[in-house]
């Protein structure tokens, strides 16, 4: 919750890297500096393209950040990597697609909404798809926790982790049965036309849509956790479950609320992903989930600001690598950055789990 410290911590990390002047850290700093320099050259040569890539990266990053928040929220409260979370995101995109196609359980409720529908219908359709997917994913996440994780609350952590992986497979196969193995097209509802005049910098309506949905969600989440009774309960439970119970906080309910929030964000992200990329597929949750998990770890898992920063960074690094290195290299670049960050800052960019966790050091 300390977004203001973000830059301070980043520069702190760099300084720390310099001070540890072992050859590895010097090499790392040199590599990072070289990459930034090369990017700068590109930026100077063609500022329009560079800015466009940056904006695309920001949009992709926003979608990833929303998923990453789900990982980090759950990790913060029960220290579980919820591997089923990415697949929850996939279910979100499927639910959104189903709503837009106007069918539910084989019933045709209304005509499919497509690119040819009127503007009002499109806007309403997108909003309904978002809300339904958010609700569905939120409840699905709560259900998963109740059925699969809660009975294992006092088991070794590995048991829950394996269960989460199992849940991931179950959801993936539900998706496979539901929409088949091939990519499914999303209706093209949001214009890919450039908002900005001229061709120099590209910022499409699609990009605006993603940011317009993401920013209120982030602000709302931040307000919820900082200021509300439930948010305080979440922070309390994250830090000490027994002490929280002793002041009357219903720990199970608070954990459910956390899963609900994570699911809601994943649902929104899933619908946006579909509308933004025009397709979805049963295993999209694996790839996007992996990027989101990487983002959460990159920012410092358990730290909410970290998840957002990590998500945006991964998005931007990805889009830069797409443009200047080559699409086939993108994953390599992203995970190389992850490895680099973790080698020099094992707790992630924004440090320990201070956002939701109590640090826990020095106290039993």
């Amino acid at each position: 919750m300390t977004t203001g410290d973000a830059t301070k911590t980043l520069s702190g990390a760099l300084l720390e890297g310099l001070r540890h002047s072992s050859w590895q850290s010097r090499l790392a700093v040199a590599v990072v500096a070289l990459m930034l320099a090369l990017l700068l050259v590109q930026a100077v040569q063609d500022p329009g393209q560079f800015t466009s890539q940056l904006l695309i990266g920001l949009t992709n990053g926003a979608i990833i950040a929303l998923i990453a928040l789900g990982y980090t929220l759950v990790y913060g409260i029960i220290e579980l990597i919820n591997f089923a979370h990415g697949d929850n995101f996939m279910i979100g995109s499927f639910v959104g697609l189903t709503v837009l196609s106007g069918t539910l359980f084989g019933l045709g409720l209304f005509a499919p909404i497509s690119g040819d529908s009127g503007t009002i219908i499109k806007v309403a359709g997108v909003l309904i798809a978002l809300v339904v997917a958010m609700a569905a994913c939120g409840l699905l996440n709560v259900g998963i926790e109740r059925i699969a994780y809660k009975p294992l609350r006092n088991s070794p952590r590995l048991a829950v982790l394996i269960t989460a992986i199992g849940m991931s497979f179950i959801l993936q196969n539900v998706g496979l049965v539901w929409k088949g193995p091939a990519q499914v097209p999303f209706p093209d509802l949001i214009s890919s036309a450039n908002i900005l005049p001229g061709d120099a910098i590209v910022f499409r309506w699609k990009d605006l849509f993603v940011l317009a949905v993401t920013i209120p969600l982030l602000v709302g989440l931040s307000y919820f956790i900082k200021n509300t009774k439930q948010g305080k309960a979440m922070r309390a439970v994250a830090q000490d479950k027994e002490a929280a119970a002793m002041v009357g906080i219903n720990v199970n309910r608070t954990i459910s609320v956390t899963f609900l929030l994570g699911g809601i964000l994943a649902g929104a992200s899933g619908v946006m992903y579909g509308l933004f990329n025009g397709i979805t597929v049963f295993n999209v949750g694996f790839t996007q989930g992996l990027y989101a998990f990487t983002a959460a770890v990159l920012g410092g898992i358990g730290n909410l600001s970290g998840a957002v920063v990590g998500g945006l960074l991964i998005g931007i690094i990805g889009s830069m690598a797409d443009q200047y290195v080559g699409v086939r290299w993108t994953s390599i670049v992203i995970f190389a950055v992850l490895v680099l960050v973790l080698v020099f800052r094992p707790t992630g960019l924004l440090g320990d789990r201070s956002a939701t966790q109590g640090g826990g050091s020095g106290r039993a």
Binding site: T228, K229, R235, A236, Q239, V247, G248, V251, Q357
Partner: protein, 271 residues
């Protein structure tokens, strides 16, 4: 002798009602009997101390009262209701508050936020109201904040904006009491509140415990090693040794009990 339990608020001879009654409380961990069929009463507005050598089962008993452990057998009645099977947060809702031997604050929250978290059960704001930020909820949160500051004042702290974990040790102890008070308990369990404190801090804390009863009408169950504290503020003292109750009575009675001297006071600092 403890009376047979009479369900709702069994009255003692003097017409004093008990806030907590424990009957035949036993807890075993595998083959180890940590607490063995202990009967225990806490009268209203009383300060009752639980003492005994290390490993006597005091904290185990505490954890059973607060619901972190479920007794192997026996039952607890709090203000007339059987709480033996209730979850800790339900007991807190019924008016039970506690502190921990090793301070367990919410370290990365400010003092005020710790107290606000403690107020959780007394705030009504629903999840929906929280999300929508309805006027009722915001007003309630404003009032809660004022009450939190008042509580911090009561225990002698100011609401500083530092993380709780960065407060001085004595202040952390006080903050933990303020957090426990925030849920409006009728019975407060304090687990070694003066542990690690210097004589001045101990004296101030002893005075605070007295005020809990005088000004807020609380009953207090105290685990304490500092005999000066126990003897000066307790109405009654119960002594546990190897999980069994070996003595009970006023501080003077207990002090003169030979079994106690043998088991405990003989080897402890008596001031």
């Amino acid at each position: 002798m403890p009376e047979p339990n009479g369900g709702a608020r069994a009255a003692n001879g003097a017409g004093v009602t008990n806030i907590l009654e424990a009957r035949g409380i036993t807890k075993t961990f595998g083959g180890l009997v940590a607490v063995n069929s202990v009967d225990f009463d806490i009268p209203e507005r009383a300060i009752v101390s639980l003492i005994g050598p290390n490993g006597a089962g005091k904290t185990t008993f505490f954890n059973m009262v607060s619901g972190l452990y479920i007794p192997t057998s026996g039952r607890f009645v709090l203000t007339g209701r059987d709480i033996t099977r209730m979850k800790p947060h339900e007991r807190a809702q019924m008016g039970l508050g506690r502190t921990f031997q090793n301070i367990r604050l919410f370290g990365t929250m400010s003092a005020v936020d710790n107290v606000l978290a403690g107020m959780h059960v007394r705030l009504k704001g629903s999840i929906l109201g929280s999300i929508l930020g309805t006027p009722g909820v915001s007003r309630e949160e404003k009032e809660a904040r004022e009450r939190a500051h008042a509580l911090l004042g009561f225990v002698g702290l100011r609401g500083r904006q530092t993380f709780a974990k960065n407060l001085p040790y004595g202040d952390q102890r006080r903050l933990e009491i303020a957090r426990a008070l925030a849920s409006d308990p009728k019975l407060l369990l304090l687990d070694e509140p003066t542990a690690g404190m210097n004589p001045q801090e101990t004296a101030r804390l002893t005075e605070l415990i007295g005020r809990l009863r005088e000004e807020r009408g609380l009953s207090v169950l105290l685990i304490e090693h500092e005999m000066r504290v126990v003897m000066s503020i307790s109405d009654r003292v119960t002594v546990l040794d190897h999980g069994e109750k070996i003595s009970e009575g006023t501080p003077t009675e207990v002090r003169q009990d030979e079994r106690v001297i043998e088991a405990y006071l003989g080897t402890a600092r008596t001031g």
